[in-house]
Amino acid sequence: MKVLVTGASGLLGGAVAAAIASAGHDVRTFQRRPARIPGTVDVLGSVTDRTAVDAALAGTDAVVHLAAKVSLAGDPAEFEAVNVGGTRDLIGSARAHGVRRLVFVSSPSVAHTGESIVGLGADPADPSTARGEYARTKAVAERLALAADSDSLHVVAVRPHLVWGPGDTQLVARIVERARTGRLPTLGSGAALIDTTYIDNAASAIAAALERVDAIHGNSYVVTNGEPRPVAEMLAGICRAAGVRPPRWHVPARVARAAGGAVEAVWRVRPGEDEPPMTRFLAEQLSTAHWFDQRATRRDLQWTPAVSLDEGLARLAISYR
């Protein structure tokens, strides 16, 4: 199968491209700068450039779409252009080129209202309740993708939750940097259970979704390790693996949410290049439970995570050594 993987310069996109290539498929990657994944061919371009997308998609059987603007803050227009516009163009192009399969890589935040998620499955994406521009635009995009599901184009949405691992510049690096400078508090009691996804497991799940898309198209699946942990324990585990001291100070969850809201307001008035130190979204993420029912995911994807949480932390520790 000829497969196009978009967004392969990111940690997850690269791992996905490698996993699909190692399964024997002919993989082309598409992103703005070279991804250099062994066994794949780089095609350079932006998903906001329809011509480049057309060129990349020509002659492929399937596309795995990861390219997105992922950030806690930023210009709403840019989120809209990349996440919504890019996905819309990609779908249009895929149809035009007779591409038969689309794996849309999404996020559980598309269905997250800010309340605790305790053992739920993949609820429908809902832009009206999603928290923040990233989640909102991904929700719109996932709905576009699933709306395009048809006999000629099989679409499945996969939502890996909190992907982390060696080389991760998003989650792990931020946690470690804040812990190192003493800016990482535990919110509330730190007992809220959160489920995360080790990078290799996220990649193998997306690769599995590609293999299974003809049987399961039209659905959304949340992917996790299936090993929820109290958030403080998870943060401490990452800190220990990176060789920094785990957070030792607590902030009441309510205070953090209020502070996050205030900080967001300031950042909106005075937008800068840097990210706000705390957002309401982040405060919610760190003080409410979010773990998922993985039964349908594992059954339908015929997949189980190969790397346990403990093994993942051990590999992370090696990467920091």
Partner: protein, 905 residues
């Protein structure tokens, strides 16, 4: 009173559309001949006949459902829906006919005033017109219950069952009618309250538990929106025969007598929170129809049809009746006669030893004084005989329920055996239930007589418990008046000395109602017959070698009471029975010395304190204790360390710990050595993965006991067929001659406790009774039973079912861990397992476990743990302080692990 108060005329009509839960397709208008006027009259009624026909279902019979006042057939909408749902799924198809009584609901307003006899004839005229095929089940609520009973009495050929929700048929002489109705009947109040204002209607609609939704209230009010339409409500209230001279009293008496002779099964579903039809009316109905199946729903009230799933229960009951079409009389007579060998009643030793001057009882600290009191067999025997005769002479008879609020001791023992001897049913509720639990238990059991010490009677008075009151001691006239006491045990004994004993009760007569601890839910009354208690006595005698002349020290109330039945010389140690933790080693030694005790029965909490106070023992105390041959810990599991501790005090004794429950007090038994052997056996690796589930080994079944396991399915429900296969985890199902007869007034609970046991091959004879214990465990290859937890505490993860005790034991072995509770959070089927740990030293506040402890717990647990939490103290049951309240832990863990505040569990 005048009869011309019926109100204006109005034609019948269908109800308005859009009433919640009511399908307009069920509504019909049907004409019949008015029993009162002889002219034609039009009914509105619900009839599911057409809907059944549309489903292609052939009715097995008809349920004629009669609403009361001031409701209408809307009351029965859930029954109509449920019968159609079941018929649609291929179940038995019951047609429901639910008329609006004339002048009520949407039936015709004729302007006539109808009396009870008219209403009974009216419904008869309607069922004649409808030309019902097949058997008819009469169903009624409130005053509709009276009409349904009247129909039942008049249609014996069609009637197949009588089923009632809160209602009444008899107003006892001299007892006031319920206050709300007294008010409604007061001159002037009736017309204003019932017709001018809809207050009577509103009062009734306010009785829902939980409160009715606005939509349902609107639906109930729909036919009564205007004063003109409410005349029937007033007419109905005026028709209540509050006095013997009332115009409807004759008809009421006719029906009340008639239901005694119906000869069909009956089901009474009852909401005890009913200010009008209180428990005494239920009691009266049971008196008239003693074969009735009864389910009393704690927390439900007058509008029971809104409060609980009465319809599902009713249809389940009808199904059960269809499967086993037993004649009504067989329901109570089923059983258990001591076939073959001659029966030995519980009081046989009292008769055999009636001339013996040997010691029967020693009270080390009698309630009456500080000096130990010794009672000989002849004295005890005479006292029991006199009390039995005296109670009989005072009108207490076979089947009467007697609540004993007497502290353990000679008074209680004598009263207990006297009641048993005359066939009265002893109601025993433990003060450990707490005052609310006790009140609920006593009210539910509805005793005819309360025998109590002054303290108990004061509580009975204050809390409004029912029953005639008898004091244990003679009281002054003032106190008698205050407590409502009619007589005392000494007075009864004197009266009994001159009178004859009544005949002995039969072996299958009910002997006692014992209340469960309530540690596993609201206390339930457990019914025992004489034969079953006799079997228990015989088993204790065999299992522990207790017989005539055995010295027995009883620090555990239930077994103390059986001392005289066993013929044992029984000593009650100096202790506060409501606080077994107060029993000291010295007190046990004194009791042992007093009766040359060979056998000692103690509760787990008592054992803990006895071991803890061993330093206070003098040399002769230790000498006395060295003569003990058997020590038994009953009531809850006890640790090897404690059993070690107690055998160190009693070096000649074998320590036993039985497994049982209020429903069957001794099912399996194991000795300390047996526990040790099982411990080393469980350490041996086994190929059978199920065995590694772990658990507490409670030994092999006692003689005559069968233990089976109903395997758990993937959802953690015990749906498998009970079997004796080793290594399979499931619900423990037991059978024994001394097993309970059933639960008191809890038909649904009864059914649940014997679910899927009818087909089990009985181990003995044809009358085996089985009981689902609610415990989860497995049998091992040596036939030993291992308990893995309670069924509701099973955690159902995505990878399978986890029973709590195994992980608790394994984590409990981690250094620094005192006790552990396993909880599940999240939706069943994808739950996460959580360990909640009590540490040494205790944590100062609840929170996440330290990383080292969490890691150690995780590697020990044997199952994946999502979180390890520490708490200063695990919540436990009040009575034994040993059963960890896992349900509460789960609720707490669910909250804090979802990001809630870290409070104490």
């Amino acid at each position: 009173m005048t009869l011309a108060r019926g109100g204006p005329r109005a034609a019948a009509s269908p109800p308005p559309l859009g009433l919640p839960g009511l399908d307009p397709a069920w509504s019909r208008l049907v004409d019949s001949t008015d029993a009162l006027t002889g002219s034609s009259v039009t009914w509105h009624l619900l009839d599911t006949g057409a809907a059944l026909e549309a489903l292609g279902a052939t009715p097995v019979g008809t349920i004629v459902a009669v609403h009361g006042n001031p409701t209408w057939s809307y009351l029965w909408r859930r029954l109509a829906a449920e019968t159609l749902r079941r018929a649609g799924e291929g179940g038995p198809a019951w047609r429901v006919i639910a008329p609006d009584q004339l002048e009520m609901g949407f039936s015709e307003r004729t302007g006539a005033t109808r009396r009870l006899a008219d209403r009974v004839r009216d419904i008869g005229a309607l069922t004649d017109v409808l030309d019902l095929d097949g058997p008819v089940v009469a169903l009624g609520h409130d005053w509709g219950g009276v009409v349904a009973m009247g129909w039942a009495v008049d249609h014996p050929g069609q009637l197949s069952a009588l089923t009632l929700l809160n209602t009444a048929i008899h107003q006892p002489e001299g007892s006031p009618i319920p206050a709300p109705l007294r008010l409604a009947l007061a001159p002037g109040v009736l017309s204003t309250a019932s017709t001018v204002t809809p207050a009577f209607l509103d009062t009734t609609l306010a009785l829902g538990h939980p409160v009715l939704t606005a939509g349902i209230k609107r639906a109930y009010r729909a036919p009564y929106l205007h004063r003109d339409r409410r005349a029937g409500i007033a007419g109905f209230v005026a028709d209540i025969p509050a006095t013997a001279s009332h115009w409807s009293a004759v008809e009421l008496d006719r029906i009340a007598e008639g239901i005694r002779h119906l000869g069909v099964p009956s089901l009474l579903q009852w909401g005890p929170e009913d200010p009008i039809f209180s428990d005494r009316y239920l009691d009266d109905l049971i008196d008239r129809m003693p074969h009735s199946d009864v389910h009393r729903y704690e927390g439900a009230g007058h509008l029971i049809a809104e409060d609980v799933d009465y319809a599902g229960a009713l249809l389940d009951w009808l199904d059960a009746r269809r499967e086993t079409p037993a004649p009504a009389s067989a329901v109570t007579g089923a059983g258990a006669g001591a076939a073959g060998s001659a029966r030995r009643p519980l009081w046989s030793n009292l008769d055999a030893l009636s001339a013996s001057a040997e010691t029967a009882l020693v009270e080390l600290a009698p309630p009456s004084g500080s000096e130990p009191r010794t009672i000989s067999w002849s004295l005890l025997s005479r006292r029991v005989r006199e009390l039995a005769s005296g109670l009989a002479a005072a009108g207490v008879g076979a089947g009467d329920r007697v609540s004993l609020l007497v502290p353990p001791g000679a008074d209680l023992t004598a009263a207990l055996y006297a009641c048993l001897r005359i066939g009265a049913v002893v109601v025993v509720a433990d003060a450990g239930l707490g005052i609310r639990g006790l009140t609920r238990a006593v009210r539910g059991a509805h005793p005819d007589v309360v025998i109590g010490a002054a303290q108990g009677l004061a509580a009975a008075r204050a809390l409004g418990w029912p029953g005639r009151r008898i004091s244990t001691t003679r009281l002054g006239p003032a106190q008698r008046a205050v407590l409502g006491v009619t007589t005392s045990l000494p007075d009864l004994a004197r009266r009994g000395a001159a009178s004859e004993l009544p005949p002995e009760p039969s072996a299958d007569a009910v002997a006692a109602v014992l209340f469960t601890s309530g540690s596993t839910g609201p206390a339930k009354g457990v019914v025992y017959t004489h034969a079953q208690l006799e079997a228990l006595r015989d088993l204790l005698a065999t299992q522990y070698g207790v017989g005539v002349g055995t010295g027995l020290v009883a620090g555990f109330a239930p077994f103390a009471l059986l001392g005289p039945a066993l013929g044992a010389r029984t000593a009650t140690p100096d202790m506060d029975v409501s606080a077994p933790r107060t029993l000291t080693a010295e007190a046990v030694a004194a009791a042992v010395a007093a009766v040359q005790g060979r056998v000692v029965f103690l509760s787990p909490a008592a054992i803990a304190n006895v071991v803890a106070t061993a330093d206070g023992l003098a040399d002769d105390d230790r000498a006395a204790l060295s003569g003990v041959e058997l020590v038994l810990s009953a009531g809850a599991p006890v640790s090897v360390e404690l059993l070690d501790g107690i055998t160190a005090l009693m070096p000649g004794a074998t320590a036993h710990t039985p497994y049982g429950m209020t429903e069957g007090l001794l099912m399996t038994d194991i000795t300390l050595d047996g526990i040790r052997a099982a411990g080393s056996a469980s350490a041996v690796p086994t190929r059978d993965a199920e065995i590694t589930a772990g658990g507490v080994c409670v030994g092999r079944p006692a003689p005559g006991v069968s233990v089976l396991i109903a395997p758990l399915d993937a959802d953690g429900a015990a749906t498998g067929l009970p079997a004796a296969a080793a290594g399979v985890t499931g619900e423990v199902v037991v059978s024994a001659p001394h097993l309970k007869q059933g639960y008191d007034q809890l038909w649904l609970t009864d059914e649940a406790a014997v679910r899927d046991t009818a087909e089990l091959s009985p181990s003995r004879g044809g009358d085996a009774r089985w009981h689902r214990t609610g415990d989860v465990g497995h049998l091992d290859a040596d036939g030993r039973l291992w308990i893995e937890g309670r069924l509701p505490h099973v955690v159902v993860t995505a990878d399978g079912v986890v029973t709590p005790v195994g992980p608790e034991q394994r984590i409990g072995a981690v250094a620094g861990v005192a006790r552990v509770g396993i909880a599940g959070v999240g939706p069943r089927g994808t739950q996460q397992v959580i360990a909640i740990v009590e540490t040494v030293p205790a944590a100062r506040r609840p929170g996440l476990a330290a990383p080292e402890l969490a890691a150690a717990a995780r590697s020990a647990a044997g199952v994946p743990l999502a979180a390890v939490l520490v708490v200063p103290r695990l919540p436990t049951d009040i009575r034994h302080n040993s059963k960890i309240d896992r349900a509460r832990l789960s609720r707490w863990a669910e909250r804090v692990l979802a990001g809630g505040r870290m409070s104490a569990p």
